[in-house]
Amino acid sequence: MELLFFLLFAGLAIAGAVATVWMRYVVHSAFALMGTFLGVAGLYVLLGADFLAITQILIYVGGILVLILFGIMLTPPDRTERNAKRVIGFSASLVAIALFLAVQIGSVVRWAEKSNLEAPKATAAPIGRELLRPDGYLIPFELVSVVLLVALIGSVFIARRRKAVRVDDSSTAAILAERGTLQQKAGA
């Protein structure tokens, strides 16, 4: 029974990843990526990491995927995807994948005997205790808050509205104007 669910979630994750690489339109790839995230969350549940599965869905599907969709919305569409180059790129990637998988599976087989078979327990309380213990993970926990603060300030600063595009270098401005992509964004 557990094997059935493992195959189901693993199949969903891998099918989602393949669809992410193969889909013609970016939006379709983003939704296929959501399928991968859900499949991985299911695998976390099978591994007994229930709090991690909830965090995965909350942050990856509810946060990062939404961010990727906003990025797709705010960037210009790609009009020049040439089909021939795409096939070459894919075949090269497939060869690389095959070699990589051969190495991985060769090294994975050694670990196949290791299996700690005690039943998994609920993890939200133990994780909370571990994170807040001074000789546990308290210091990384406080450092993560600083990292989040830095990411917040940095992203808000980068994405702020400007009166016009400030291109500081005159030769850069000349090259961009010649390409026709120098845009003067009118401010509010």
Partner: protein, 99 residues
Amino acid sequence: MGLAGYLIVAAILFALGIACTVARKNVIYVLMGIELILNAANLNLVAFSRFVGGLDGQIFAIFSIILAAAEAAVALAIVLNVFGLFDSIRPDDPDLMKE
């Protein structure tokens, strides 16, 4: 299903993440490939945490998810700025520093 099954799934996801980053001419695909790679690594961590014992793998994976969120936010801000300036989403286009 033993440890090997989860490690193989993680390896396949990792390889597909690299393919997504490298083989598509769109910077949004690069971001999506990076998220696939991070998911594969997290799956590895949690699988070992389950089968070898201890909670450390899951806590490492939680920190990894949090930092992936922060990194996606900053990466998208940079993408919107740089690729908005060049009005394109191909990673090859910002090449003003080339000879």
